[in-house]
């Protein structure tokens, strides 16, 4: 008798506490899990498991630790950096069944939720108390709170209201050895090190998030959105600095260039001026009188900066419509291009003009169109490279160009990722942002949580070996960054 395959042996162990329908073994069933929101990177997982309580998660992790099988946790699978890309020899741990809101405490303004709860579902559930959950990544309709924590997701309102790390108070986590911890607290701090901050944005490398307590904020009295159209992107960028320099902190300050405007308009019919070179969306919130004053001030500033048209949303519906187009801007690219590759660099805001012109040059050199969507208020740039994965070689050129854009961001004092995470996609660029000693320190942090290195290995923090190879690759152009990955 031959020994059972690792897959069969694992499945056998899991069957002791999971129903058959929660263990996906056949290739047909595993295939749809081979990628997350970044579908150019695909890897077939060894096995997919769908637990529905914390005890099951602990048992899955203990068994995997015992058998030295790596584990990748996944929420809604909407990530854009390949953070939930499975491993061919690893278990994919889906937390999508953890989708219940456990408790809402209106007086303390917190909600205890399971990690698979959708970001937007939290705000919907607490709306009757006049509260909401502030971070609103563009994918908020679909992305899960567990994934938001793992990536420290941002959104269009984080200039004023912060990122995920600023809006959660407590996490339940399970480490690779099956131990359950609570980090943070239901007060405003916890004793010891700030593990809540460390876990946030750790991309599933330190522990599996099994519960989240989020902070809720009162819904502002009034909010108003201005839409300004520009015939050139540079004055639009200047306007951003002028608004902030005037002491106004908008709730959201977003910029889109012409290709992005056209794609978003095709979906949302928001009335964006399709011939503008750039539009700025500026949301102001607060008390009625304050918003009225600020709207007038911002309108004046925008006009001074050369906006050819400034529109103020007529009512809540039009305001929602203005945002709908912006929030759907990424996937709306599907209307003008079969594939898009989304970058996520951050830059000091005043360097915007040179970065945009650098991107334009790269776009011309590579012959690949780029649409730019920009969280202008906080310097987070999302160039979307448009390509067709069905054309041989085009993905490779796209990746190369994307890498150059990120290096440009680092060169002007920015970062390779503002909110999407490093994942698989930007792992090589980590080598240009961090020194060997810094990366070594990060590996030491990982080892403190997961000494065997079984949780989401190979993501977020590159090995020094990989960086050495990446350095070499710069010399030998034309090599693929990830030869082991199956790709289009």
């Amino acid at each position: 008798m031959t020994a059972a395959s690792p897959q069969a042996a694992l499945a056998q162990r899991f069957r002791a506490f999971l129903p058959d329908s929660s263990i996906l073994v056949t290739e047909t069933e595993r295939r749809p899990y081979e990628c997350d929101g970044l579908s150019v990177y695909r890897r077939l997982p060894l096995l997919v498991v769908l637990p529905e309580d914390i005890n099951q998660v602990q048992r899955v992790l203990r068994i995997c630790a015992e058998l030295a099988v790596p584990v990748v946790a996944r929420g809604a699978g909407t990530g854009l950096s390949g953070g939930a890309l499975p491993l061919t020899d690893g278990v994919l741990l889906s937390l999508a069944k953890f989708n219940r809101i456990l408790d809402i405490d209106p007086l303390n303004r917190t909600a205890r939720v399971q990690p698979g709860v959708r970001n937007l579902a939290i705000s919907e559930a607490v709306a009757e108390h006049g509260l909401y959950y502030a971070p609103d990544p563009s994918s908020q309709i679909a992305c899960s709170i567990g994934g938001n924590v793992a990536e420290n997701a941002g959104g269009v309102h984080c200039l004023k209201y912060g990122l995920t790390v600023h809006n959660i108070v407590q996490l339940g986590i399970v480490t690779m050895d099956g131990e359950q911890f609570t980090v943070g607290g239901t007060g405003l701090d916890a004793p010891g090190y700030d593990l809540l901050a460390l876990m946030t944005g750790s991309e599933g490398l330190l522990g599996v998030i099994v519960e989240v307590v989020v902070k809720l904020l009162p819904v502002p009295d009034t909010a108003q959105v201005l839409l300004a159209a520009f015939d050139d992107v540079v004055p639009a960028g200047d306007a951003v600095g002028r608004i902030i320099g005037a002491g106004i902190i908008p709730a959201g300050l977003e910029m889109m260039d012409n290709p992005a405007i056209r794609a978003a308009e095709a979906f949302a019919h928001a009335g964006y001026p399709e011939d503008a070179a750039a539009i700025l969306l500026c949301e102001l919130d607060g008390s009625r009188a304050e918003v009225e004053t600020d709207v007038m001030r911002v309108r004046k500033l925008l006009a001074q900066c050369g906006a050819r048209e400034v529109r103020i949303a007529r009512d809540a519906d039009e305001r929602a419509l203005f945002w709908k187009g912006r929030k759907a801007a990424f996937p709306a690219m599907g209307r003008i291009s079969p594939d898009y590759y989304c970058m996520d660099g951050t830059i000091p805001r005043h360097r915007l003009p040179e970065v945009l012109s650098g991107i334009e040059t790269l776009s011309r050199d590579y012959g690949l169109p780029v649409a730019n969507v920009f969280h202008a208020g906080d310097g987070n740039l999302h160039p979307l490279i448009l390509f067709d994965a069905n054309r041989p070689g085009e993905l490779q050129r796209t990746e190369e160009m994307g890498g150059k854009i990120l290096e440009l961001c680092v060169a002007v004092g920015g970062s390779i990722t503002g909110e999407h995470g490093v994942g698989m996609e930007k792992i090589n660029q980590m080598c240009s942002q961090f020194s060997a000693a810094e990366l070594t320190q990060m590996h030491a942090v990982k080892a403190a949580f997961d000494p065997a290195g079984l949780l989401n290995p190979g993501k977020a923090v590159p090995t020094l070996h990989r960086c050495a190879e990446f350095g070499a690759m710069h010399v030998h152009d034309g090599q693929l960054p990830f030869p082991e990955l199956e790709r289009f």
């Binding site: 405490d105 209106p106 007086l107 303390n108 303004r109 917190t110 108390h129 509260l131 420290n152 984080c158 912060g162 990122l163 790390v165 131990e179 911890f181 980090v183 607290g185 239901t186 007060g187 405003l188 916890a190 004793p191 010891g192 090190y193 700030d194 901050a197 460390l198 944005g201 009162p218 009295d221 600095g241 902030i244 320099g245 902190i249 607060g286 008390s287 304050e290 004053t293 600020d294 830059i347 000091p348 805001r349 969280h375 310097g379 987070n380 004092g413 970062s415 390779i416 990722t417 503002g418 909110e419 942002q433 000693a437 810094e438 320190q441 990060m442 030491a444 942090v445 403190a448 923090v461």
Partner: protein
């Protein structure tokens, strides 16, 4: 003053690492009482000072750890900006590094965030004497683990801070204080109900008899809120009295803090009812931070705070003693300490025994 001494500091740490020599990191010495007493050779960071970069329209300031807090605040004030977390100083000698290492925040904390919330990046030296940089000078940065925030409040036990980049905000144009007489149960509910309304609140506190509110923001926003609240049970406080009250609370100079009983800091869910403990209590942060002057046994305080899911810090003549961690969490802390400071030279024992 502006001096870059990071090489000297790193050299001293490398030396200490080789000789396994424990160090006691110090700045202005204003917050020595915020942790446990440390045995070690003093390492003074004050020589490494100065503002490295500050562009008001970027809303970011970067300064060296030894820079006096007052210098940082003066530079910001010139551009009409401020540190959003309203840090306590405790002495004019306070340094920026000390403030961040201790992770202390003032009355504004529930509304504009804590020290850790505004930390964007740090330069640091770890326990091997290696100079490392994490985070950066941009608002959003998720490349690698968030070690900058991990450093905040770690009291120098994981690394020596060289410089920090902080997010800053425009100083509110207008600030007014209000007060109302109330009993404790009503005050706790009132503070939390108010925080659930869209008001420009920047502090709420209860001193045992009076509920204090502070409103900050644009002129019209504050005026509108004043109108709404003064129609209820609040009355406006004279401007200087208000400023004095919030400053005294922040600096722990309020008369509440005097007296012989032991001082405790309680951190708990804001709306928790008053704890059944002897002594006097002062409520800050809308009830989420409570100061307790009591002669109760430590055990009794811990039992009471555990019931509501918070933690307590006790201020003794030997320094501040934090609530013990669960064994599993304590072990994780030990492993993290080991990851940054393998031979234990950085402020050993400052947070907990062995940390």
């Amino acid at each position: 003053m502006n001096a870059d001494q990071h090489e000297r500091l790193a050299e001293q740490l490398r030396d200490a690492f080789e000789h396994q020599q424990a160090l006691r990191i110090r700045g202005g010495g204003s917050k020595a009482f915020c942790g446990r007493a440390v045995q070690g050779v003093a390492l003074d960071v004050r020589g490494h000072c100065g503002i490295v970069e500050y562009q008001p329209t970027e809303l970011v300031i970067t300064a060296r750890a030894g820079t006096p807090l007052l210098d940082v605040q003066a530079a910001l004030a010139e551009a009409g900006q401020m540190l959003p977390f309203e840090p306590p100083q405790f002495s004019p000698d306070a340094t920026l590094g000390g403030v961040i290492a201790c992770g202390l925040s003032g009355p504004r904390r529930p509304f504009t965030g804590a020290a850790r919330d505004v930390v964007l990046g740090v330069g640091m030296v770890n326990g091997r004497g290696e100079v490392l940089r994490f985070g950066g000078q941009v608002m959003k940065n998720v490349a690698g683990y968030d070690i900058s925030r991990l450093m905040t409040g770690a009291q120098g036990t994981l690394g020596l801070l060289l410089d920090v980049s902080l997010k800053v905000l425009p100083t509110p144009v207008c600030e007014r204080s209000l007060r109302a007489d109330m009993d404790v149960a009503d005050a706790i509910v009132a503070m939390n109900r108010l925080a659930g309304r869209p008001l420009p609140l920047s502090a709420t506190a209860f001193d045992g008899e009076v509920l204090w509110l502070r409103l900050s923001g644009a002129e019209p926003a504050v005026a509108e809120a004043m109108e709404a609240l003064c129609g209820e049970i609040f009355v406006e406080v004279e401007e200087l009295t208000g400023q004095q009250f919030w400053r005294d609370l922040r600096e722990r100079q309020h008369r509440f803090f005097s007296g012989d009983d032991e001082l405790w800091r309680l951190s708990l869910p804001a709306a928790s009812p008053a704890l059944d403990l002897p002594g006097r209590t002062f409520y800050d942060w809308g009830g989420a931070q409570r100061w307790l002057k009591t002669n109760a046994e430590a055990g009794a305080v811990h039992v009471a705070i555990n019931k509501v899911g918070g933690h307590a810090t006790r201020f003794t003549s030997d320094g501040a003693v934090a609530q013990p961690l669960s064994p599993a969490l304590a072990a994780l802390h030990q492993r993290l300490k080991q990851a940054f400071d393998p031979v234990g030279i950085l402020n050993p024992g400052r947070l907990y025994e062995g940390l």
